[in-house]
Every structure is written in C-alpha cells, then in structure tokens.
C-alpha cells in the first residue's frame, strides 16, 4: 500500500468501527420493524406507525433528558412520578383558571408555564440534593419518586384529577392534531431530540456534561463547575418531563396515582439500549431515540398477535430487550 494513503486508511477504518457502534441501536430497530411486518402486515401501515411514534413521544422526550443525566454519571428514578405530579398540578391550575373567563389559549398557556416551572424546579431540587447534599443520585431520586407520587395522590385525594371538559376540547389537538399526517407529539419529539443532539455535541455545556461523567476530577481540574453542570442536567431533565406532560395531559385529560408509573425504567432503558454508557461520559442522543422507539414497538408488536398468552407479555418484552442489545453488541465487535 502506498505510504500516503496509509494514514487516511487508518482514520477511515477507525471511523468505520465507531460508526458501526453508533448504528447498533438502529440495526436492532430495523430488525424489530422486519419482525413486526412479518407478524402482521398491518404493522407497516402509516396509521399504526404514526400511532406508535406518537405514544413514544412522552418517554422519548424524558429519555432525551435522561441521556444528559446518565452521561453525567447520574440517574433519575423520579421522572415518572414527577410526570404524574406535574400533570396533576397542570390540571388543577387549568381547572382553576377556566371559570375565570380567560380565553382558553391563555388558560393552556398559563397551565403550561406552571408545569414547566414546577418540573424544572423539581429537577433542580433533585440536583441540589445530589450536588449540595452529596447523596447518591439513586437514593435522592428514589426518595423524590415517592414524594412526587405521594403529592399527586394527595392532590387527587386518592382518586383522579380530571381536566375540565371545556378546556380539554380546546387543548385536545396538542396530542391528536397533526401537520401533514405527522402528529404534534412526533414533531416535538423530533425537535427535542435534535436540540438535545446539538446541545450535547455542539455546545460547551454538552461537552462539560460529557467530561463530568467521564472523569469528575479531570473536569474540576479543567475549571469546570462540576456541580453546576450536574444541577443544570437535572434541571434539563425536569424541563423534558414538563414538555412530556404538556403533550400527555391532552391525551388522557387526567392524572392519578398511577400516571407515569414505570416511565423512569422505560426512559433509562431507552437511554441504555441506545448505547449511552450507564457509568457516564459517553452519550448517544439518536441512540436514545432509537431505544425509545424500540421499546414502544415491542409493545405494539405484542398487540399485533394473539398467539402469546397475555401472562407472558413481559417475558417476551424482556427477551426482546436483551436480544436487541445483544444484536448491537455483536454488530460492534465485528471488525
């Protein structure tokens, strides 16, 4: 091989390896789509795919925030509870504002602002307990997970908080509406993912998030305010939860103690399936997107067929998750 091309060849082969790694989740996703199409041809109809993607938006958006958290080396178990709590508060706020004779637009806007403020604040509380309190993120968010869920239960008096039907009618299109067939939640999800990718890969903050997770001490010696970065990441996670709630409330129009149950595990799973490292320092936003879609597709595919005992649903789910990750590991180790 002539000398000059040597270096070029080297670089490209390394890049190729990295690419394959990044493709892992997408390969798994493709495999799953093929599986779905085989199980039931209806799977590939636009109607079905749009439905699935629209649903994915909630946990998907939360998982984008989760990618930041996990990249800093943290974890957030409280997102599902926070979503429930924030939904409850949003409904209470909007229900309280409706009789005031405000235009519905304003009611929704104020409700949304309330939810955003609350979610970001809650995220920051998590962040502060972790950075100031020096407590393991797992414990802090396990604690706040219980706290948020309790608060929504309390606010709903153990029952359900339902959105005023009048305002609901106005607010409904936020979930069900679409532009050229693409529903708003899908659009928002796509935009959030794109912004997430830009923030993580192209901004200083994103670089600092990665550095913090890769080696906190090195980050500190590089004049990075590790604590502030972590705090901001938890705030960002809160923001993402707020956005998800904004899309979620018009769908079911209610909140209760069971709202958002298990979203935290789903979000974390999406992040990890996407190839972000649990130990921090390495992030893959688009992988997370693929991960979230993979999880939603598994549910969908299980609903496509009546061949499996309903008792075994989570077993199949578990198996597919593990296989999906095995597939990508395999893809990675190939040269």
């Amino acid at each position: 091989m002539p000398e000059p091309s040597h270096a070029a060849h080297r670089a490209s082969s390394a890049r190729r390896r990295a690419d394959l790694k990044a493709f892992g989740p997408f390969i798994a996703l493709a495999a799953l789509i093929v599986l779905g199409a085989v199980v039931n041809p209806v799977f590939l109809t636009p109607g079905n795919l749009i439905n699935v993607l629209t649903r994915t938006a909630f946990t998907g958006i939360i998982a984008i925030g989760g990618t930041f958290i996990i990249t800093t080396g943290g974890i957030d178990l409280s997102v599902g509870s926070l979503a429930a709590f924030a939904s409850g508060i949003m409904i209470i706020v909007m229900n309280a504002l409706t009789p005031q004779g405000l235009p519905p637009f304003l009611v929704v806007l104020l409700g949304t602002l309330a939810v955003m403020a609350l979610s970001v604040f809650s995220g920051l509380v998590n962040g502060l307990l972790i950075t100031r309190g020096r407590i393991e993120p797992f414990i802090v968010t396990l604690g706040t997970m219980g706290i948020f869920r309790s608060l929504v239960t309390y606010a709903a008096n153990g029952g359900t908080l339902s959105l005023n039907t009048q305002i609901r009618g106005y607010y409904r299109p936020v979930y069900y509406g679409d532009i050229l067939g693409i529903t708003y939640p899908i659009l928002v999800f796509a935009v959030v993912a794109a912004i997430g990718a830009i923030v993580l890969y192209r901004t200083r903050f994103g670089r600092y998030v990665t550095a913090t997770g890769a080696n906190e001490e090195v980050a500190r010696y590089s004049a990075i305010h590790v604590d502030r970065i972590k705090l901001a990441a938890y705030g960002l996670q809160g923001l993402c939860v707020g956005l998800a709630v904004f899309l979620y409330v018009p769908r079911l129009g209610s909140a209760s103690a069971t709202t958002g149950l298990g979203w935290e595990l789903e979000a974390i799973a999406a992040v990890i399936i996407g190839g972000t490292l649990m130990k921090g320092g390495s992030a893959r936003i688009w992988g997370t997107v693929a991960g979230a879609i993979i999880l939603a597709l598994i549910d969908n595919i299980l609903n496509l067929t009546g061949a499996i005992s309903v008792y075994l649903n989570s077993a199949i789910q578990g198996c597919i998750i593990i296989i999906a990750v095995l597939v990508q590991r395999d893809a990675k180790s190939r040269p």
Binding site: T160, L252, S256, V310
Partner: protein
C-alpha cells in the same frame, strides 16, 4: 364467508394482583369458549399495566387488529374516557365493564360491578354483626377511584353508628402488605373487634398476622371479591371469616359473552347489567364456590 368473520377486542388490566389475576383467568377462559362456540369469531385479548398503556392498546386494537367490538375494563375511568370515545367514533360497539366512564353516553353496554354497593354491604354486615359498636381497623387497596368509592360508601354507613374506626392504611391489594399493616395494627391497638380488609388478597395476609398474634378469638375479618379460599372458609363456618362480599372477576366473562352474542347473533341487549356485590354467608356460600378458578 370472510364478511362474517368478526373480531372482538378485549382490554383489561394485567394480572398484577389477585383480583386482576382472576379477571385474566376468566377472560382467557371465556375467549376459549366463545371462539369454540363461534368459529367466525376471533377474540383479541390484551392486557395493560397502566392507563397509558391501555390507551395504547385501544389504538392498536382498532388500528391493527381491526376489531368490530370492544369489551373493556378500564384501568381508571377518567383517563380512558377519551381513548374509548375514539374507539366509539371509529364505529365500534363498546362494552364497558365495572368502571363506568365519565361520559356514559359512549357505552353501548355497561356490565357493572358496583363498588359503592360493595362498601355499603360490607358496612351493613359489620354494623349488624358488631351490634352497632366496637373498634375496627380498615386496610384499603391502592389509591384509586374504586378504592375511594368503596371506602366512602363504607364510612357513610359506619359514621352513623358507635363503631370506632381506629385507623385505615393502604395495603395495596397485596397480601404481604396486608400482613405487614395488620401486624402493626395489632401492635398498636390492644382491642380490635373487627377488620375490614375489603379484598381477599389482603385478608389472606391479615389472617396470618392475627393468628400469629394469637388474637384470632378476639376479632373477625371481612374481606371481599370472592376468592375461592375465602368462600371455602365461609362455607366451613370459620369464625375468623364469617362472610365475604362478592365482587366477581367473572363479570368480564359475562360481558364478553353478551357482546359476542350481540355481535354474532345480533341479540338485543339491555343497556346495563348490574352485578350485585352480594353478601356471601354460610347459607349461600356453596353457590359461589368455584374450586377450579385460579382466584
């Protein structure tokens, strides 16, 4: 011909506690029987772990399983009202089971369990057996509307008597939590005359705790739902479990049968079938005992 082939969608909560397990069992049983009875009928049975997932399931049933009718036992009433309306708007027959939607105009058929009645019947029995006075403790389910309905109806009756409710705690329709909470109640209250456990899963845990404390002669327990072990105890005149209040998970099978009948034979149906929260006592226990059921 193909035109006669019909699909009936059934959406129920996953088997995450005893009663829901019974529900699943009866639904699967009914699926097998109905599919045998009507060769042109396919039943698409899906289960969900929470309200959001159940809403997802509804979309999938309409979109990919192409159902003609839906039987649903909603996880919770309010959040599923809108998703079920979507199904209705898609032109499907809708049967609601147990938990009424916030907008009853959506349903074509309502097969109702009666949660407030369950609370009332339980309270009436308790008041009668205690002679209108005494100390009781309550173990509640999980914080949901159903639990509130039962609890509030119960309290409405009890409030008017001299029965003192020492305390009530959630036991999450879970026997381990029932055991735990009851152990602590027993430690805390030296005199308890009766326990309202509201659910037979919880009752199982309560019985063990009471027995362990050696206070099984001092109090008795009223559960609910009609678990076969409890019906058996009532039948055997167990003093610890003098009665049970029915809340049969079999209602899902009834609803499926009715809907299938309408779908396949065009049978005319009432708008509403109420399944009573019957009080089971040694006198009538035999007729509610299904030893083969999983619940």
């Amino acid at each position: 011909g193909a035109a006669d082939k019909k699909v009936l969608g059934v959406s129920i909560p996953a088997a995450t506690h005893g009663w829901a397990g019974g529900l699943n069992w009866h639904a699967q049983q009914a699926k097998i029987e109905l599919e045998k009875k009507y060769p042109d009928l396919t039943i698409a049975l899906v289960t969900a772990g929470d309200a959001t997932r159940q809403a997802n399931d509804l979309e999938d049933l309409v979109q990919v399983r192409k159902i003609d009718a839906l039987v649903i036992l909603p996880f919770e009433s309010a959040p599923l009202t809108e998703p079920v309306r979507q199904v209705k708007n898609a032109g499907k027959w809708v049967t609601i089971v147990d938990r009424g939607l916030t907008d009853p105009s959506i349903q074509d058929l309502y097969v109702a369990g009666n949660n407030p009645q369950m609370g009332t019947n339980s309270a009436d029995f308790m008041v009668k057996k205690l002679g209108g006075k005494g100390n009781i403790v309550i173990l509640r389910g999980i914080p949901t509307v159903i639990d509130n309905q039962r609890f509030d109806a119960f309290m409405d009756v009890v409030k008017k008597t001299d029965i003192k409710v020492l305390d009530s705690k959630y036991a999450n329709w879970n026997r381990d939590d029932g055991f735990k909470v009851m152990q602590d109640f027993l430690a805390r209250f030296p005199k308890i005359d009766a326990v309202w456990a509201q659910d037979d899963d919880i009752t199982l845990g309560v019985i063990e705790a009471v027995k362990q404390a050696g206070r099984d002669k001092d109090m008795w327990i009223l559960g609910g739902a009609g678990m076969k072990e409890m019906i058996k105890r009532v039948m055997d005149k167990d003093t610890l479990v003098p009665a049970d209040v029915l809340y049969p998970p079999k209602m899902i099978a009834d609803a499926m049968e009715l809907t299938a009948k309408h779908l396949m034979e065009g049978a005319k149906l009432e708008k509403q079938y109420i399944i009573d929260a019957t009080l089971v006592t040694p006198d009538n226990a035999k007729q509610y005992y299904y030893p083969d059921s999983s619940f």
